[in-house]
């Protein structure tokens, strides 16, 4: 499987790029972490001493390599700022963010796929136009607006769902899910609009393709054609787009986490970044990047199952 080997190589390159990029970006920022630790009144000697203790006096390439070799073994280091073990700190945050990621993707797909099938069954007709317009509206609502609105209506006014007290998964799945309903809804509505449009457009193109006409000429019903023949060959772009959203949903939903007080990676990352806690930032970014490449590897393999041409192209047997 030359295709997969190449894929692994690319994954490693991506991880390396992300890790190195973050590291050097933060390192180039003005001000030493030592100042951040000691405060602005620190003496030069004090700073030098702290830097020596933390190994900050060594060249940055050396520091990056040391950090990297530890990271490969699962040791993400200890925060300069508060001495917290970064791997452990992330382990506390990751499940929540991951749960939000999975639930959001599932819900967005759960809304988008049936809607797209329904719309594409009669392209250009009323149902299609109505759903397409709705999807435009969903995309147009900024995420934080959606979150605030849902919060006001369902948590404050109607009080159907808790406003801002997250219940972790291990304290009961029902309560946990209840506390995630609003954040997940706010995240998946705009996404479902995008997914809908991607799938609907591909479906409409597929449905007017020659091989679908051939299937029609063979006497298959529109329902079977849509579900069995068109959906599969139309879902490639959608799958790719779903994969691309991983990192953003895992570590970029800061606003949602803030509005609903979720202890997720976004806030962790934001706090660490604003406090110049390089070790924490680096650790969180790495974990997010690893999840991203893993999810996209899965997507890639799924694409290969779905479309033999992808397989052929990557192995190089295409004529």
């Amino acid at each position: 499987m030359r295709g997969l080997g190449q894929r692994f190589l690319q994954m490693t390159a991506v991880l390396l790029l992300v890790a190195a990029g973050t590291f050097f970006l933060l390192d180039l920022m003005p001000g030493s972490p030592a100042i951040a630790i000691l405060g602005t009144s620190a003496t030069p000697e004090g700073i030098a001493k702290v830097e020596a203790e933390l190994g900050l006096d060594k060249p940055n390439i050396e520091r990056f390599l040391t950090w990297g070799t530890h990271a490969v073994r699962g040791d993400l280091g200890v925060s300069y700022r508060d001495g917290e073990n970064v791997a452990q700190a992330i382990r506390q945050r990751f499940p929540t963010s991951f749960e939000v990621l999975i639930l959001t993707q599932l819900l967005a797909l759960g809304i988008a796929v049936p809607a797209a099938l329904f719309a594409a069954s009669r392209p250009g007709k009323r149902r299609d136009r109505a759903l397409t317009t709705t999807s435009f509206a969903l995309i147009a609502i900024p995420q934080f607006v959606m979150a605030l609105t849902l919060l006001i209506i369902f948590a404050k006014q109607l009080q159907w769902f808790p406003a801002a007290d997250f219940v972790p998964l291990n304290e009961g799945i029902i309560r946990n899910l209840r506390s995630l309903v609003l954040p997940v809804l706010s995240l998946s509505f705009p996404l479902s609009g995008i997914y809908f449009q991607v799938l609907r457009n591909d479906l409409v193109i597929t449905m007017s393709s020659d091989h679908i006409m051939r299937t029609r000429a063979s006497g298959f019903s529109e329902r079977i054609i849509l579900l069995k023949y068109a959906l599969r060959s139309s879902s490639l772009t959608l799958l790719a787009v779903v994969g691309l959203n991983t990192a953003g949903l895992l570590g970029g939903v800061l606003i949602i986490e803030q509005i609903y007080s979720l202890p997720g990676l976004g806030r962790f990352l934001f706090d660490a970044a604003t406090r110049r806690d390089i070790v924490k930032v680096e650790g969180a970014v790495l974990v997010i990047a690893v999840t991203y490449v893993t999810v996209n590897l899965l997507v890639d393999m799924l694409l290969r199952v779905f479309d033999p041409r992808v397989r052929a192209a990557s192995i190089g047997t295409r004529r």
């Binding site: 992300v18 900024p142 404050k156 063979s218 006497g219 298959f220 970029g252 606003i255 604003t274 052929a312």
Partner: protein, 624 residues
């Protein structure tokens, strides 16, 4: 006025609202300062709900929200436009580079793009703005740079297929400079979808700015933007939700307007638009003629009888007469060839028979019947028609590359059709598929069952297409240019196969082609089609020996012949078939006809003759 109407038709009501919104936004952004110089605090009138004097209410300092909203438009729009510009310039450079040079360059760029997608960029944006300091410039730069990879991906995907197209390859062969090819050949071809996407991006960047300001990492506090307004309204959201909802709906409306415009812009209106079924009351010129034909009793061995078939499409320029009164009969075990140039309507005719015309079958209310087994196919419900499609009348198509499902093994495609119509079990269907593969002459059939379409040659793919068509043992086969995409040897083999099927299975074949040469030795009858009508029809022998219509003669003259001296020029018919819109005047072939007389341009010729019919006025003239 007419232009105004067309404008409305082009953009629709929603589009016009969107245009109005964008224009209003532009005015506010450019000239907003003129109305908002007097914005003052008025602590007595804090947090007022929308009222007559303050249509949008007032904020926590008593400032008029309408004024603030207008003021905020300026920076919000500026951020949206500037960040989009940065993203597009950077993204296009990166994307075009990747697509144009491909290979290693592409792989390296893709890795970088992947890395940027693996990175939670929103958090990165926040941190960078906080480090550099909150300012409009920094916000624009950060959002712009973050947009680059997204745009680069899209530009790359849009230009990749173009790079392999002939016109780009040709430019490369001629040794044009790379920059020239990119600027002259690539960019003009990707610019339209990209501009559409740019509109959407402006909306998205405005919303990102809102998010940044909301989190406290946007523009400085003394600058008003919509995001800023939402952020400052958040504290009092429960008592005065309008402080959040108004700027939020402004962002929402702007994105919606831009998206709507973008989708209308991208859709364009290519000609011809095939509209949904519109009732047409056109009466065909030879309706009386058709009535005669319908009333005459068809002989018993006629399997399929097409009687005065019409297929019109309504276009903005009038009805397009794709099929304009065609009558044709197919007998058991017979092969009838329908010959004509591309655009003559022969494919549309074949598809009309089984209701496979794109969007609803045919413009309603036109005369015509397609009699098969005592029923009119045109009057059947789609459910009833489905039971005939594939089961009793099957089709094979021109391009087996595109008509086989690319993501299904070929054995399964054959078996599925057998299962559908014959109710076979999975095992039986597979067995049947294998038998069919052997029957249509696919070598190594057992192994080929599991092949994907792209793994097979054109000839083999067409054999698969035939196997699928035969899966449910149909009585009639409609073959739409099945050999035109193949080379001559393969063509001959496939024709032999069809010939065999006809003899041994008693299959009736309607063979559609543009090539007079390949029908000569195989078809029992020939019908020549031109501009939606049959212009000559008769037994192959007679038509070939005594063509009566100049068009048929021209088609015959264009067949290369072995006994011609080599290097003799092949006859070519000058001109192109007319577009059949508007009332029919005279003979459609008259403009290209070498033997044209004045009467040809005014009189519509009818098919005359008994077994050998032709529609040419000159025949009538010379006969009388």
């Amino acid at each position: 006025m007419k232009q105004l109407l067309r404008f409305k038709q082009r953009w629709g009501i929603l589009g016009l609202i969107a245009i109005a919104w964008i224009v209003a936004l532009g005015v506010c952004a450019l000239f907003g300062k003129l109305f908002t110089s007097h914005l003052n605090q008025d602590l007595k009138n804090r947090l007022q709900a929308p009222s007559f004097s303050h249509p949008f209410g007032t904020n926590n300092l008593g400032v008029d929200m309408l004024g603030l909203a207008i003021k905020g438009a300026r920076i919000s729009v500026l951020v949206g436009l500037a960040a989009t510009a940065i993203g597009f310039i950077g993204g296009s450079l990166v994307g075009l580079t990747a697509a144009y040079w491909r290979g290693r360059t592409d792989r390296v760029i893709l890795t970088f793009l992947d890395a940027s997608a693996a990175f939670p960029s929103f958090v990165a944006a926040i941190s960078v703005v906080l480090f550099w300091g909150k300012s409009v410039r920094n916000v624009i730069l950060v959002i712009g740079v973050l947009t680059i990879p997204v745009i680069a991906r899209i530009v790359r995907a849009a230009s990749l297929p173009l790079v392999e197209r002939d016109f780009v390859l040709a430019a490369r062969m001629q040794g044009s400079r790379h920059s020239q090819i990119i600027v002259r050949e690539l960019i003009p071809n990707v610019i339209r979808p990209l501009l559409g996407f740019a509109m959407i991006t402006v909306g998205i960047t405005i919303s990102i700015e809102g998010g940044l300001s909301f989190i406290g990492a946007g523009v400085p506090d003394n600058i008003v933007t919509w995001g800023q307004l939402i952020a400052s309204g958040r504290a009092t959201v429960e008592g005065s939700p309008h402080l959040v909802l108004i700027p939020a709906s402004l962002i929402f409306g702007t994105i919606l307007a831009l998206n709507t415009l973008s989708s209308k812009w991208l859709r364009g209106r290519p000609f011809p638009v095939i509209k949904e079924s519109v009732v047409e009351t056109t009466v065909s010129a030879n309706a009386s003629d058709a009535a005669k034909m319908i009333s005459s009793n068809p002989p018993t061995d006629v399997v399929l009888s097409i009687e005065n078939l019409h297929t019109y499409f309504s276009t903005p320029f009038g009805s397009l007469r794709a099929v304009d009164g065609v009558s044709l009969q197919l007998r058991r075990g017979q092969m009838v060839a329908l010959v004509g140039e591309s655009g003559s309507g022969k494919t549309m005719m074949a598809r009309s028979l089984l209701g496979l015309v794109p969007s609803p079958p045919r413009v309603a209310g036109l005369p015509g019947r397609v009699m098969f087994d005592g029923q009119d196919l045109l009057s059947l419900s789609s459910e009833e028609l489905r039971k005939i499609r594939g089961r009793r009348i099957a089709m094979i198509f021109q391009d087996p590359m595109t008509t086989l499902n690319p993501v299904m093994r070929v054995g399964r495609q054959i078996a599925d059709t057998a299962t559908l119509h014959l109710g076979l079990s999975k095992k039986e269907a597979t067995r049947r598929a294998l038998e069919l593969l052997i029957e249509v002459g696919v070598p190594d059939a057992q192994r080929r069952m599991r092949a994907w379409p792209h793994e097979l040659s054109g000839g083999l793919r067409q054999r698969i297409g035939i196997a699928i068509a035969l899966a449910a043992e149909p009585e009639v086969l409609i073959a739409d240019e099945p050999t035109s995409a193949l080379d001559v040897t393969i063509q001959r083999q496939l024709l032999d196969l069809l010939d065999r099927l006809r003899r041994y299975r008693g299959l009736s074949i309607l063979f559609i082609t543009h090539d007079m040469g390949i029908v000569a030795s195989r078809a029992d009858e020939v019908a020549v089609m031109y501009s939606g009508r049959i212009v000559e029809q008769g037994s192959t022998l007679e038509v070939f020996a005594h063509p009566r219509m100049p068009y048929t003669r021209a088609l015959l003259a264009s067949i290369p012949r072995i006994n011609h001296e080599s290097h003799k020029k092949l006859a070519v018919i000058g001109g192109i078939p007319p577009i059949a819109i508007g009332p029919r005047v005279g003979c459609a072939f008259a403009p290209r006809c070498p033997d044209v007389i004045d009467a040809c341009r005014t009189e519509i010729p009818q098919l005359v003759g008994n077994t050998h019919q032709a529609a040419c006025i000159r025949n009538v003239v010379s006969a009388s």
